[in-house]
Amino acid sequence: MHEVSIALSLLNIAERHCKKQGYQGIESIAVKIGKASGIMPEALLFAFDAVKHGTLAEKAYLTIEEIPVSGYCHRCMKSFSVDEPFVLCCPNCGNMSFRLDSGRELDIVELDVF
């Protein structure tokens, strides 16, 4: 949900960094989206293309690295990683008390500017 407001925040951050360092435009933006972040990459791409017009990222494309969901189980004390966009229980022992280590990222990593 909220891919449009995420795309707007993303553009805002990218433009700020581009201007601060004295560049004229953005060629690409690399982001990391966790699989459990609630953000759908396809929807973010669509939203980004819709909101970038008239900004320094007018011609930019987005590259998205999807971060898998991983965590640590408090009962069997093992780390785990899953394919689903959520974790309800430890895939090793079934316990529902665990720590999520990755998968909820919504990060901007780097820009290609000119």
């Binding site: 949900m1 909220h2 995420i6 925040s9 993303l10 805002n12 951050i13 990218a14 960094h17 581009c18 360092q21 560049y23 060629e27 982001v31 699989k35 609630g38 990459p41 396809e42 791409l45 293309d49 011609k59 494309y61 987005l62 590259t63 998205i64 690295e65 999807e66 394919d83 689903e84 966009p85 959520f86 309800l88 229980c89 529902m96 008390s97 919504l106 990060d107 901007i108 990593v109 780097e110 820009l111 290609d112 500017v113 000119f114």
Partner: protein
Amino acid sequence: MCRSVNESMVKNALMYDNKDILRRRESPERRLHRVKIKVVSRILEANDRIASDNRKKFNEADVFVVNLMSAPGAGKTSLIEKTIKALRNSLRIGVIEGDIAGTDDAQRIEVLGIPVIQINTGSACHLDANMINEVIDDLPIKDLDLLIVENVGNLVCPAEFKIGENMKCMILSVAEGDDKPLKYPLMFQESSALILNKIDLLPYIDADIEKIKRDSLSLNPSLKIFEVSCKTGEGLAPWTEWLQKVVHK
């Protein structure tokens, strides 16, 4: 279902802007000046920064802030009314109401003589830090011990947005179904307390309240659960006593 996104997503993005990229590659000036800037920042940094500012103001005013969330109609406003009636002699309470439209909820609090602000989001399905930031100065927070923020009715989004609160509490009415904790895990995981409301309806519905409690505690072992009926008053004392203790700590 979840496929590897890197290559296909990058390819799609490139194909979409193919013509533009080809033009850029042909332009020698662009090739010379292309530079990478490392950013490494959370996209939601703006919201979180404002949430921290809010929290600082609340701490300076020594007011404890509760972010109250639930699906529409679970009983947020009713719980706030009952909480005010029980605690108003020992705590100075203020309320921020969040709704897409209308002032019904704020009016219900106003007649109790409690300072209240109504935020209308217009279309947003949750309150965010900026919305709270814009009304902080309209409330006498230095004269309050407890500020309850009633979020927009929604079991999904409010849990994702910090607003500067000390604690998140959520309400589930037993009539919503005993499958809700596992269907909406984040809100249950983020909350410190779960108020199970409308227990007066238990004889008339099929909900298994033990399953609700079991699943909720599995998601969040430190969750405090209160079984209440705002309508009959049953079970409210343990909730208000606990809240009072937490605020005073």
